[in-house]
């Protein structure tokens, strides 16, 4: 099992969208892919067609001391989805306190899922420092930093570098931090420049340049990932290419795939 934490220091950069579409692209390679929503926004499930009125998820299961196996959804693309779920504010406080005081919370639950050795787990996290990010980075083999090709997102990169350094550096499983530049727009000079500077700075650790593409948003409105919605779109190609680069850093598939 390899754990990929999708993180960013700034909100609104498209972490959840990147998580969902990368999961679809990795699943299409014949992998066992699990996505886990650690963001109280509970939006990841929408990309996989989970009913927006569905309350069940890891938050409620954890509080009820229930197995996470009870909140596994299987999407039509073959990706297994564990939503955050919906909780009221009191329960959210209790949940976050639980996470904060139990450092092995995520590790224990992932082990309990009994995933096959070649499974890939993508963790979607809320922006910036949080108890969720701390747990995610402590378990991650790879950290995938999502950044927009704009000035604010670029300026927030050092914060994420510090967080990854703080929470991943001592972890024996941690391999490296990778970068995805999301929603690039080559018709805008600033977008091109930010992309180029990031690629220059991080080299081959930039595993994805995802172009701004209307089909990504349209796909979500259709409860689909963009690879299923418009397979030939620019963004679909970008996500496939990104998944290929990430796959090079993952174990090979089993023969049964």
């Amino acid at each position: 099992m390899k754990v990929l934490a999708v993180v960013s220091s700034k909100g609104g950069v498209g972490k959840t969208t990147v998580t969902a579409n990368l999961a679809c692209a990795l699943a299409r390679q014949g992998r066992t892919v699990v996505v886990l929503d650690l963001d109280p926004q509970n939006a990841l499930g929408l990309h996989f067609g989970i009913n927006p009125s569905e309350f069940r998820g890891i938050s409620r299961a954890s509080l009820a001391q229930q197995s996470w196996k009870s909140v596994v959804f299987e999407s039509r693309t073959g990706v297994y989805v564990l939503p955050y779920g919906v909780v009221n504010e009191d329960d959210r406080d209790r949940f976050e306190h639980l996470i904060e005081t139990r450092l092995s919370w995520l590790r224990d639950h992932l082990q309990e899922l009994n995933l096959p050795p070649d499974a890939v787990v993508l963790l979607d996290t809320p922006p910036g420092p949080s108890v969720y990010l701390k747990q995610a980075l402590a378990e991650a083999h790879l950290a995938l930093v999502v950044v927009l090709a704009d000035a604010a997102s670029y300026a927030a990169l050092p914060l994420m570098q510090r967080l990854v350094q703080t929470y991943c550096a001592g972890q024996p499983n941690f391999s490296e931090a990778l970068y995805v530049v999301n929603q690039t727009n080559n018709s805008r000079q600033l977008s091109k420049d930010v992309s180029n500077v990031i690629r220059t700075s991080f080299g081959d650790r930039v595993v994805g340049i995802i172009h701004q593409d209307q089909s990504v948003g349209d796909a979500l409105a259709n409860d689909l990932c963009v690879l299923d919605y418009e397979s030939g779109s620019q963004a679909a190609n970008d996500f496939r290419a990104c998944a290929e680069k990430i796959a090079q850093r993952l174990p090979t598939r089993t023969a049964t795939a």
Binding site: S53, F55, A64, N88, P116, Y154, R162, Q165, N222
Partner: protein, 274 residues
């Protein structure tokens, strides 16, 4: 006369309450929009019951009854050509093997599969197995019950993905990577930082604001985007349009005009003036 006045006058002329008037075209438009985008129809905004989640008091019905066997997804065929524009796959097209409605009689939810995979049979939240703890019965919990309505997300099978793959047009124009950037003018500003250098120093009372030209990432961006000033002699004609008019007028070069509007510059050129 505005539309609203027109409507008010119509009600005055023919009788009835103008407050009861409903903009049918807007409602029809909204309904059509919901048909186009499944996500819009999945959420009913304005319903107060959807706002609050019930407190967590006990274990809830599992999504998938029985043991879960995580399996690899089917491998998708390589995409070789761009799909025709507008050939979007809807969720309904992807879910070709429609799931068994949850209302269908199932003798034993643990043994009778409701989908292709016996190991992934789906529990029915409104009628959980007897051994499952009862779900909260608050109004909000009742609101959660629609999850029992046939939901493609929870009921579809991995076999669908292979069907969907067969539907998909072969595709994939190679993604042309953006050209590599030119060497940066100030390496000290834009050089990648090692992890160890990213840890911030503790703040002191004498810490002064760092100017943008220092180590700020924004400063690096500013350096990268700042255009290099060209020599004065190499200044091109003011605008492309002016250059064209200059050639038409038989002149080989147009000096950079003083600041003026594009329209006035065009007028000057048409008149043949400098």
């Amino acid at each position: 006369m505005t539309k609203s006045e027109d409507i008010v006058n119509l009600f005055q002329q023919f009788g009835g309450q103008v407050d009861d008037y409903q903009e049918l075209s807007r409602q029809q438009s909204a309904q059509q929009a919901k048909k186009r985008w499944p996500l819009l129809s999945a959420l009913e905004l304005g319903q107060a019951t959807a706002a609050t989640a019930p407190g967590v008091a006990a274990a809830e019905a599992p999504v998938i009854a029985g043991p879960i066997e995580f399996r690899p997804a089917p491998i998708a065929p390589p995409v070789q050509a761009l799909a025709p524009t507008g050939q979007h796959l809807s969720a309904a097209e992807l879910a070709l093997d429609a799931p068994t409605p949850v209302s269908a009689p199932v003798a034993d939810p643990h043994k009778a599969p409701v989908q292709a995979s016996p190991s992934l049979s789906v529990a029915i939240p409104t009628a959980p197995p007897a051994v499952a703890p009862a779900a909260p019965t608050t109004p909000a919990a009742t609101q959660a019950a629609p999850a029992s309505v046939p939901n493609p997300s929870t009921l579809t099978t991995t076999a669908v993905a292979s069907v969907a793959s067969a539907i998909l047009e072969p595709s994939a124009a190679p993604v042309v990577p953006a050209p590599l950037p030119a060497p940066l003018p100030e390496p000290t500003v834009l050089a990648p930082r090692p992890w160890s250098a990213a840890v911030p120093a503790p703040l002191t009372a004498t810490t002064a604001p760092t100017p943008l030209t220092g180590t700020s990432p924004l400063a690096g961006l500013a350096q990268a985007t700042r255009p290099t000033p060209a020599p004065a002699a190499a200044t091109p004609p003011a605008t492309e349009l002016q250059g064209i008019f200059a050639r038409l007028a038989g002149r080989t070069e147009v000096a950079a005009p003083p600041p003026q509007s594009g329209l006035s510059a065009l007028w000057q050129n048409l008149r043949g003036g400098a």
